[in-house]
């Protein structure tokens, strides 16, 4: 037994490499005690890291992986919200029907167009704002905080205000447009106006956030680059295009990826913008996004199986988008 203890005690101290050399003459009891401690220490070193990271993985298992798999399982069934345990196997029918589900493809198209209308101007404006804020300004902290204020506003509150602003008969925007001779625009019911209106909520909310990210990256650009560019006779514009933009490339990529993810999950703004309080995204589904369609099928129409299939299809589409993003970003990195 004792020898067993000895070998067990010896190996970890060698592995650890930190055990000081011990004087050989020690009582057997002390030896055993050491051996016990050392074994405990060994186990500690080996397993503690797992214990420390386990909370995340346990939570992920319970609230991430399990729902993901369960949703996949549910998507192969006909399940109604009124009795979620009562499942009828239907195979891939919920997926195959998506191919000729006009409402799904309409929602996919809307998600894409609203995503473009909201992301492109948003990032361009953020870049412009960041560039302005990068100059020495009086009260720059105030401007920075002010820009972040929309981001700190709740989507619900913001959307409700925007619904009032975009009202057809009594909205402030139409009122202002009337003054310059433009007739009332039906921001709710006409396709493009409604998509622009929804996008404007997104733009309002996220431009400041992106501007601050750009600003942080701009401030990390070494001043000497600008100085040498100025010495070479570069104008402000040339400095912006040939010094600022190339240095911001990774940051721009990051904001593009984050905005793409955000745009593909767009949900709260179109839900609350719909004055009918339904989830159909307008009378003719003119601004229904994929997220909203998923919600409508699952929680309004109570078809959990169909909603699960939509969720998984969205997931697969997002993976494809992610791969495209990755390939493009690698190309960009390789070219620079």
């Amino acid at each position: 037994m004792t020898t067993g203890h000895d070998t067990a005690a010896a190996s970890p101290t060698k592995e650890g490499g930190a055990a000081p050399a011990r004087p050989p003459a020690e009582s057997a009891a002390e030896e055993r005690r050491r051996a016990r401690l050392s074994r405990r220490w060994q186990r500690d070193v080996r397993w503690s890291p797992y214990a420390f990271v386990s909370p995340f993985f346990l939570l992920f298992l319970a609230f991430g992986l399990f729902p993901l798999i369960y949703t996949g399982w549910a998507s192969l069934h006909q399940v109604e919200l009124t009795s979620p345990t009562d499942m009828n196997w239907v195979g891939f029918r919920n997926y195959t029907r998506i191919f000729d589900d006009d409402f799904f493809w309409n929602a996919a198209k809307n998600t894409l167009t609203i995503g473009i209308i909201s992301t492109v101007p948003q990032l361009l404006m953020a870049m412009g704002l960041a560039h302005i804020l990068n100059y020495k300004l009086r009260g720059s902290t105030f401007y920075r905080v002010a820009m972040l204020a929309p981001y700190a506003t709740s989507i619900a509150a913001a959307s409700l205000v925007f619904v009032l602003l975009f009202g057809r008969d009594y909205g402030m925007i139409n009122w202002a447009l009337n003054h310059v001779g433009i007739d009332n625009i039906d921001w709710q019911n006409d396709k493009w106006p409604s998509q622009i209106a929804v996008s404007s909520i997104v733009i309002w909310r996220w431009t400041g956030y992106n501007a601050l990210i750009y600003l942080a990256a701009m401030q990390a650009i070494p001043q000497d680059l600008y100085e040498s560019a100025a010495l070479d006779g570069a104008s402000r514009w040339q400095q912006f295009f040939h010094v600022t933009l190339p240095s911001l490339r990774p940051t721009i990529l990051f904001t593009v990826v984050v905005s793409t993810i955000g745009a593909s999950q767009l949900f709260g703004e179109p839900l609350l913008f719909d004055a009918n309080k339904g989830a159909s995204g307008g009378a003719q589904h003119q601004f229904q996004t994929l997220g909203l369609y998923l919600y409508e099928q699952g929680w309004v129409n109570q078809h959990l199986g169909r909603a699960s299939a939509i969720a998984w299809t969205m997931f697969l589409i997002l993976i494809v988008v992610g791969i495209v993003n990755y390939v493009i970003s690698r190309r960009l990195r390789a070219s620079s």
Partner: protein
Amino acid sequence: MRARTRTARRRVVVLAAVASLGAGLLAGCADDGNDDSNESSGGGGGKTTITLGLFGTAGFKESGLYKEYEKLHPNIHIEQTVVERNENYYPALINHLTTNSGLQDIQMVEVGNIAEVVQTQSDKLLDLSKYGKESDYLDWKWKQATTSGGQTIGVGTDVGPMAICYRTDLFKAAGLPTDREEVGKLWAGSWDKLVDVGKQYQKKAKGTTFLDSPGGLLQAILSSETERFYDSSGKVIYKTNPAVKSAFDLTAEAAEAGLVGNQTQFQPAWDTTIANSKFAAMSCPPWMLGYIKGKSKADAKGKWDVAQAPKSGNWGGSFLTVPKSGKNTEEAAKLAAWLTAPEQQAKLFAVQGSFPSTPAAYDSDAVKSAKNDMTGDAPIGTIFAEAAKNIPVQTIGPKDQIIQQGLTDNGVVLVTQGKSPKEAWDNAVKTIDNNLDQ
């Protein structure tokens, strides 16, 4: 040795911290409903606490009914949680029922959802036929909450007998009669006549429309039919039912002729048309008067009156149900029956304007002498009581709300935006069919 005890102690501290954090997480997952009732029963000093889950403005608390019941039954303590909109309340209720957790002792159910609850959740709910007295309630109201097996899982709170509210000043300006009897005669018996009166009105309308919205008119016509979206065997027939198509077509005709405002009900813009007196009449259950009052400007007081609708129908109303999973189902059932008994419903009408589902209440003074600021001296209690007695027994189905909303928001509303009635119908049918397809 000292070093060892210190690390041991530290480990104990860390373990304790982890344990308490973990406990905190678990507590976070714990059932809120139970926490509530524990706390309140502690505060109530050994009393039995009954909790109610409600939506909208049920008004039990506001009209002092809880206090009265607590006085009659000193061992009972009543608490309520209220969600503002049924759209948010109902999905949560269904989730709680299917998982049998997080339920209050009494749960309110809206008439648009009662058929679905009766058909799919009745095994989770207590049979209340022993507690409420069937003869007290309107026949059709009682039947709506009764399963095919004869269990009555909900007792009716209020009903929405529909009449037509109209602006006497605008009617007068358009050369129409203003007396409620004469106005009622103009369109008695047929919705076509109502639309004809609308055309007459519209000739002298001066920037107003005859009715408020296409949705209100469609709702009114459909609610006066005995059969609309489902037949008595539970089959969906909205597409082939001539009554639904003709209601849709008549509404579309009114919309094309410009008789209805191009609004959707209960939206801010619609509220503004009430405040600005932009329309002359609307289909109007008793609770609508409260809504009009809330949105009108002071100068509209007393300018409204109420006439009988061409045909009577019901719009709105709710039920109280008692989930079996509750701790005090017996006491909860007694309370639900008491809250919906004729005397209490009469009081509720006087304070809240929710119209009783119990005909015995119609003869009470509270109903007979009821008045509303907007309608001046009109005896609204008597008018609505007469409408209530003529309401047909309507076949209701689980997805009534989805079909109704599809026909309105994805249908007739489009006609006010310049689409043809056929386009609107096709769009509505396509949407509804997709929404119903499991």
